[in-house]
C-alpha cells in the first residue's frame, strides 16, 4: 500500500476517514461564505451566536444519537414534548426565584426520567416500535404540559438566565459546558461497558444478547438518557429565552435527528461519533444565518438549505459494506 511508503499520508488518510469531518468542513465553508457580508467584528459575532444556539441542538443531539445508535427503527420522537414539559414545569416551580433554581433543575430531570421510563415501557412491555411509541407518548406529554403549564410564559430566575447567557472572551459559558459534556459522553461511548453495549446492540441485537450484553438494561438507560438530555435542554432553553412556551420544542424534532445523521452517525445503528454533533449543529445554524444574511426569500432559502445538506452528505459519501 502506498500509505506505508509515505509517512505523512497515513495521518491524512486517517483524518479523511473521520465521519465527522464533513460536517465541520461544511460549517467552515458556510461561515466563510457569510463573513464578506458581516462588517468588522462580524465574523466573530457570528461564531459566538452559532455556538450559543448550537449548544441546544447538541444537548438533545447527544441523547438522540445514543438512541439512533441502538439500531434501525430506534429514534426518539418525544424530545420536543419533553423539552416543553420540562421547561414548563421548571419555570412554573421556580416562579422566577433564584432560591428555587435547584428545585427546578431536579423537577426538570424528574420529568425526563419519567418520560424515558414510560417510553421504554411502551417499547418493551407493549412491543410498540420505538418510532410510534415515542410519537404516541409525545402527544401525552404535550397534553400534560398544556394541562400543567397552560402556556403561561413565566420568567426564569434572573441568576439562571444570566448563567445561560454569560460569556467568557466571546465564548458562551453554556457552550463551553456542553463541549465538556460532549467530551465526557464521547468517553462514555468509547470506553465504558454501557457505550460498548449500545454500539453492539445497534449492530446486531441478537448477537449482543448472546454475547452476554444486558440488552434491556442498556436500551432502558438509553431512552431515559435521551429524555434526560431533552429535559435538560428544556430547562436551559426556558431560562435562555425568557420562559417556557408550549411550542418551544417543536423544531427539535427534525433538528435532533438532523444533527445526528449529518454529524456522521450511522442511521443503521452501531456506529456513532460525538464531535460530528457539534459540526452539524454549527452547520445547521450557519446555513440559516448565511441565507438570512443574503436576504433571500423564504422559498429560495428552504431550497438552498436542502440542497446544501444533500451536497455535504454526498461529498462525505457513504460507508461501503465490506462483504
Amino acid at each position: 500500500m502506498s500509505a506505508a511508503r509515505n509517512p505523512l499520508a497515513r495521518p491524512l488518510a486517517r483524518l479523511l476517514e473521520k465521519p465527522w469531518l464533513w460536517a465541520f468542513v461544511g460549517a467552515t465553508l458556510v461561515w466563510l461564505a457569510t463573513i464578506p457580508f458581516t462588517p468588522g467584528r462580524g465574523a466573530g459575532d457570528v461564531l459566538t451566536a452559532a455556538f450559543t444556539f448550537a449548544t441546544f441542538f447538541v444537548i438533545v443531539g447527544i441523547g438522540q444519537m445514543f438512541v439512533i445508535t441502538l439500531g434501525p427503527g430506534n429514534v426518539d420522537l418525544s424530545i420536543p414534548a419533553t423539552i416543553t414539559l420540562a421547561g414548563s414545569v421548571a419555570t412554573k416551580l421556580m416562579d422566577g426565584q433564584d432560591a428555587l433554581i435547584a428545585l427546578g433543575f431536579v423537577a426538570a430531570l424528574g420529568c425526563g426520567l419519567a418520560v424515558g421510563a414510560v417510553n421504554y415501557a411502551l417499547i418493551r412491555a407493549l412491543r410498540i416500535p420505538p418510532i410510534i411509541a415515542t410519537l404516541s407518548s409525545s402527544f401525552l406529554i404535550q397534553s400534560t404540559a398544556i394541562a400543567y403549564g397552560r402556556g403561561l410564559r413565566i420568567k426564569p430566575p434572573p441568576m439562571l438566565a444570566e448563567f445561560t447567557t454569560a460569556r467568557i472572551f466571546g465564548m458562551p459559558v453554556l457552550a463551553i459546558c456542553v463541549i465538556l459534556l460532549a467530551a465526557v459522553m464521547a468517553v462514555v461511548l468509547e470506553r465504558t461497558i454501557y457505550g460498548r453495549s449500545v454500539i453492539a446492540i445497534g449492530q446486531n441485537q441478537r448477537a449482543a444478547r448472546l454475547a452476554g450484553i444486558a440488552v434491556d438494561r442498556t436500551r432502558l438507560a438509553t431512552y431515559v438518557m435521551s429524555a434526560l438530555f431533552a429535559s435538560l435542554c428544556g430547562y436551559l432553553l426556558a431560562a435562555f429565552s425568557g420562559g417556557a412556551s408550549l411550542n418551544m420544542g417543536e423544531e427539535y424534532l427534525l433538528a435532533s435527528i438532523a444533527v445526528v445523521v449529518i454529524g456522521g452517525t450511522s442511521v443503521a445503528g452501531g456506529f456513532a461519533n460525538l464531535p460530528g454533533l457539534w459540526g452539524a449543529a454549527l452547520f445547521l445554524f450557519l446555513i440559516v444565518t448565511m441565507l438570512n444574511t443574503y436576504g433571500l426569500g423564504a422559498g429560495i432559502r428552504y431550497v438552498l438549505t436542502g440542497l446544501i445538506i444533500i451536497a455535504v452528505i454526498t461529498a462525505a459519501g457513504g460507508r461501503k459494506p465490506l462483504r
Binding site: A133, S136, I309, I313, G318
Partner: protein
Amino acid sequence: MTRVLLAPRTLRAILPAVSLALLLAAIFWLQPRTMSYTGLNLMLNLAIPIALATIAQMFVLCVNELDLSIGAYVGYVACVTATWLVDNPPLGIAALLAGILVYAGLGALIHLRNLPSIVVTLGMSFVWLGVAVLILPRPGGTSPEWIRWLMKLHTPVVPFPIIAATVIAVVVHVALMRTAYGSILRGAGGNPRAIDRAGWSLLKIKVVMFALAGLFGMLAGMALIGLTTSGDANIAARYTLLSIAGAILGGCEFVGGRVSPAGAVIGAITLTLAGSFLSFLRISPDWQIGATGAILILVLALRALINRAEERR
C-alpha cells in the same frame, strides 16, 4: 384449518384489519349517525390521500430506506395541482413528472453513493417546501375540475372512499406481492446481496422503488387537492409521520423488505378514524392531543398481545 387461522403469522396479518373493525364498531356505537353512506363518506374521504402517501412510504421502506420528505413532496404536488395544472396544464404535468424523476434520481443517488436516505430526504423536504412556497407564496389556487369530480363521486351503494381504498390496496398488492418482478423488488429489501449475486441490478430496483414512491406521492397530493379544493405549501407536512405510522400499524417493518400494501392502506384508515373516534368521545381540550397518543398505543398493544401468545407456545 384452525391451526392455520390461529398461527401467529396469520393473526399478525389480519391484526390491522381487526383493529380497524374494532375502532369502526366503537365509532358506530358512539355515533350511530356515522353508520350511513354519508357518514362513512365524510369520515373516510380524507383517508385516501393518506393511504396513497402511506403506500409511497411503503415502497421506500421496502428497500430498507426511509422517506422524510414525503409530506413536503405531497405539499409540492398539491401546490402544482392547485395552480399550474389548472392555469397551464402542460406546465403542470411537466412539473409533476419532474417530481417523479427527481424521486427516481434520489434513488440512484442514494444507491450509487451509498448515502443514508434519512439525510438525503431530510434535505429534500426543505427543497420541496421551498419550491412549494415559491409556487404558492400564500395559500390559494383551485382544484382542477376533473379531480374534484372524481373525489366527490357518488358511487352507488358503497361510498367512493371505500372503493378507492380497496382499489389502491388490490392494485399495489398484486403488483408488489404477486408479480414476478415484485418479488425481486421485495427481495432487495430482504437480502440485497443475494439479489445482486443473482444478477439483478440493485440500482434499477432502487430507482424503480423511489419512482413508485414519487408516483404515489403525486397521486396523494392530487387527491388531497380534490378534497380541499385549494393548496397550501404546508398542507401535508404531517404526512411524513402519518405515513410512517400508518405503514407500521399496517404491519410493515423498517428493515428486511417485510411490507404489506393492504396493511398500509388499513393502517392509514385506522389513523384517520382514530381522529374521528376522539372527536366523538368529547374529551377536555387539554387532553385531546394526548388521547391521540393513547389510541395509537391501544391499537398497537393488541399486536403485543398476539406476540405474547406466540411466545407462550
